[in-house]
Symmetry: D2
Subunit: 384 residues, 4 copies
């Protein structure tokens, strides 16, 4: 199948998938922004649409008329180069445009794109469209996180559905890797983000890495052993974080009649000890590893080990800061704001999660979040 | 007409009126809480309903079953005695129950009340119902303020409609009142709130009071004369307030091409200099009066003058703190939380506004807000 | 004795008294500002001196040269009209000028004033000097509060000395007053502040007022009865205040081995149940009164009762807002900033305290603080 | 010279040097804590003393009596294992113990240590003493930063003296390094911190590094070119930081009559364009490099290049996160809190500064600060 057809199919599927994720919602669920990190579903739907309008249709589709003049202001996110934007903490106040109109906007732009694709755009434009698809896929994953957070903060704990649930893993041991020079990063033959490029050699010491993610059951042992009360296990800023926020368990966990329960997209449930632990911050992952006398892998160790490991249920915290690879160059213009400018004070996660759209991740993929983030679908494995 | 019939009619009318106020809204507009003072329309609709359920049906209607167990938690406001409540700053995160279900709740309770009223409840219960009606009327006025604030914070300034607009007043001079003993407060023959009771004598010095509210045109002179830049006109906390918040004009005012415009419920408009100034804080009213070499009336002066004045378009700031009248007694139980506990650090406003439901106010009525509040329908007149 | 001599003597005594209050301090104690309300002792010493320099010597003493150009910036407080000023929260960062130099400044200005007084200044200037003396006396009282706060926040609870301690009162009952017209305010024959002027009639209902301040023992009964845990006793903002700040007892109180102790200027001691309760906020006074089924007096009731009551050990909270008397006029220029601009959101206290300089208070004196303030020497009596 | 004698001499010299740094201060300067990062000089003097008392004398010197029981509480910093501590933001409120008593404490412990050293302590104890000396040296550098910050925030800009000033560098070009495997980290033969240990191989790409630090003159070109106004040069969190804090130039810089001046320890001066730029955050260094089309070195590149470069006037920001070296093990007990727990969200600086005590730094030394820190003696060089 040629690239154009493939992209067109992927584009259509991606556009539909965003709407499918939102299908179980009430109109009202599209509106709130309970914390700064979480965006209203309505905003995700508009923003991913705006991307195609602003970077493809407006500059390249002859005679294209904007769906609505205000939308580039309302649905721009961090792209300073692309004009003014609604401040992130105010997104939850935007009751207008209503969901109905955002859906019209989606339809209008999707159809505009499909017409546009009829005219065999250049490879450069296809590149941008491919980024747009991947961009929407990233927001699909955030949509799932944010929907869970919005519903999980309703006092009534509403049910979303059975999608995005995890499975227990087959028990394994450790994989061993030798000291030496390894190759890291993407070769750029297939699609990848700029932050993966710059394939380069790194020198690694020998290491052993667990074949399984840490389970809820194992994590509860850490909790039972007073792990949240002994500062010796914690990074200094991690300790401050759990004190300030009163963190005593993974996000969404509640003790009820002496047993741990948690909010899941299927509703409020007893914690299953066999499933991988989820919704922990980097700080908690670090503390658990420290308590176990082990450590988290670096992102390089993870990438080297990825071939031999099962991964993909939950993103895995690494003890690597999100920094540029040698020779990293950000793209010119607004698309250059995509990755490079976030390269400080964030930690790399590797792998993928049940909320990651099919085909979106790969072993060179570098996800990144702040060390205190807990609303993502995160977990971790250990190294010794 | 006997009391029961009158109350029943008033009850039905009041219930419908709340829904009528919300009719022009999109579902999404029912959700946000842009500032702590503003509650989501959905919440007002549920809360006023909960009042009748919690204080009338649940304790007094035989065999009444709660519409939903969680609702007393979700829609209780400040009534600590009536159980747990959703914290005020979190109301905007409550996407559930959806508006649809809140409307079902309203219908269920309205019908329950109407059946209940068939059975000739006691005078004591009718007293509570009368409070409930007045309570819903108060929330109707807040609904208008809050809807204006929610819509006025949409970057697109949507139109609500032509209700609740003000008229220009016929120009007048001053009314003069002699020094002496006057009677203040309600005699309790008709319905009034507990904070109006305790009719008592006060000794007033002679005073002259303006027959008109200050107009937009007059207020713009104050602005042009640098009124917002000269601390000599301001109370110390008022000065700090306008510095911190960057206040340079009444709420909803924007300078555009050298002319003042403002958001109104009819949309974005040029300011009409003949209309009474609206959406000013007590601090701004004080500063204007000080600049004019006059002062605001006390609530006692206002009440004495009310007979001879035209009032009712906009609430009028007084330079009186909201304090108890001699012999003030709060009601026992949860209804006692209605007024007394707010008697510190608030200023009294007198009169009524275009958003006040018909028949809800009277010359002894004591409204109260913090000195920095601007989202209410406030204005002021002067005394020398 | 004529006015000039009397003022001169009072001036000299006042200047010395400020320094006497600071005598027990270490140099280091002059520097910190633990909370915004508290100013460093060094700052009080400089500021009271600056007042005489800025309002007397600089404008009126021929050939007077400023001690140091920067000092009017460093030691101005709230007098916006008198030029730029160091922001209040930053006073604790001013290590320079050192105490030594502030003392030189005091000496220089005191001597300058004494020379200036040799030349029989006009009555208008004597008026300003009299205000300056009263101003320094007010700061003497604040000095005591602030020193207690600074020392009371040292983990080592250092001893200051035996000055400023209270005595137990002879037990009394109630005084009764009849309904009627009473005269309130100062006649202006002797020195008073502008906020006391405007002697005027008020109409009071009959009332009974306690002859004693509430004692520590009585207050501990309120605490034991769960007074800090039952919101029914509290004003809404008072309840929020004690929740947010974790207030469970008067300021400086600590439970130790099941018994209440407190920091006093004599050191850390067991609470004496016979002494009047001290360091309570208005909110706590209100809650206690409410629990007792009584209320706090208004400032007018207090003033009427003052003739027949023993008072002066501790300032007494009233349930009156600090508002202007009829006909209140603020003085022109910077001295006009003295009182009027604070007339919002504060409560009046009446009486005096053991920290009030001799002769500084009187029955018409209106002291004022925010309802949540606790570091002043405050107490209260009840009315029924 | 044997180790014992050498350490004894270094100990005595170090103890005196701390006091010498403080010699130009007024007593009052020892007290304030203008920002959380800055500690009062008094606190540094006490804390470095407490280290020797708590980790050497108390556990190891027979019959040693604590100077004062409270001091371990007052002068402990981040050592959770060593007991309770005064919260960092409250250090500026500690007027007691006075400086005089802290000096007595220093004398008492210094003499106690010297006596203790007479008895030939074990190598393990000498190791702790060596850490204690290096610990005090680190605080000596912080003392200089903090003194500059305290004095530089006096409105009067007092002079400290001529120590700690920088020199202009001889102009150079670039040094070139080849791709390949390099050895990083300390071999542990001489004293070093735990964070330098774990000598290991890294694979570096080829790079060219400037022989000079960026100068004030070069930095002013960046400023003139609008560098602080173009978000394209900045990391996202860097851009937010300069917006929020209003950063428009390096710390201590002020524009006066169109020319840049800055506060230095010699007083307020015109900025010398030939000197290396100082008091920039990592974010500013990053933005400058980005504007220049280059980048900051990694800490590994810096260490490899250190042999061939002149360094030591100012610490140099690297684009490396502060993370553990392979095989990093923190020491057991309280000393284990020294370094490892800070390994998140900080950036490595390499080199030394004019405020670094002689012999304290080396090419493997890893200094670390938050990306927004500006009060340290920081600068940077570039890589292409």
């Amino acid at each position: 199948m040629n690239r154009l057809l493939e992209l067109k199919e992927k584009f259509e599927h991606t556009r539909k998938h965003s709407e499918k994720i939102c299908a179980p919602l009430e109109i009202e669920d599209y509106v709130p922004q309970p914390i700064v990190d979480v965006s209203p579903p309505k905003w995700h739907l508009g923003h991913t649409t705006w991307f195609f309008e602003a970077f493809v249709l407006e500059p390249h589709a002859k005679g294209y008329t904007l769906f609505h003049e205000d939308f580039s202001f309302l649905f721009n996110s961090y792209y300073n180069n692309a004009g003014e934007r609604v401040l992130r903490p105010n997104r939850g106040l935007m009751s207008r445009p209503p969901v109905r109109e955002v859906m019209d906007y989606r339809k209008f732009v999707t159809e505009g794109m499909l017409s546009f694709l009829e005219n065999s755009p250049s490879e450069e434009i296809l590149d941008i469209i491919e980024i747009g698809i991947n961009h929407e896929q990233q927001h699909q994953e955030l949509l799932v996180y944010d929907i869970k957070y919005i519903l999980g903060n309703q006092p009534t704990f509403p049910v979303y559905g059975t999608d995005f649930s995890t499975q227990s893993e087959k028990k394994g041991g450790f994989q061993t890797f030798e000291e030496g020079i390894y190759s890291i990063g993407a070769d750029g033959k297939d699609f990848c983000f700029d932050n993966e490029l710059g394939q380069h050699k790194v020198y690694l010491q020998g290491f052993e890495i667990t074949e399984n993610l840490v389970t809820n059951g194992e994590y509860m042992e850490f909790m039972k052993a007073g792990g949240y009360k002994d500062f010796n296990h914690w990074l200094s800023e991690g300790w401050d974080f759990i004190q300030k926020e009163g963190v005593k368990a993974p996000l969404y966990w509640y003790e009820k009649a002496g047993e741990w329960h948690h909010y899941t997209l299927q509703g409020f449930e007893k914690v299953n000890p066999d499933l991988p632990v989820q919704h922990v911050s980097f700080y908690e992952a670090y503390a658990y590893a420290s308590w176990k006398g082990m450590r988290l892998p670096t992102e390089f160790e993870w990438e080297v080990a990825a071939e031999q490991l099962n991964w993909g249920q939950l993103w895995e915290w690494t003890y690597s800061a999100y920094l540029p690879y040698p020779g990293f160059q950000k793209a010119p213009g607004a698309l250059g704001e995509y990755n490079g400018k976030f390269m400080s004070n964030q930690n790399v996660l590797r792998g993928a999660s049940v909320a990651t759209p099919k085909g979106h991740s790969r072993k060179t993929y570098r996800n990144f979040f702040h060390a205190s983030s807990r609303w993502l679908f995160s977990s971790f494995r250990l190294v010794k």
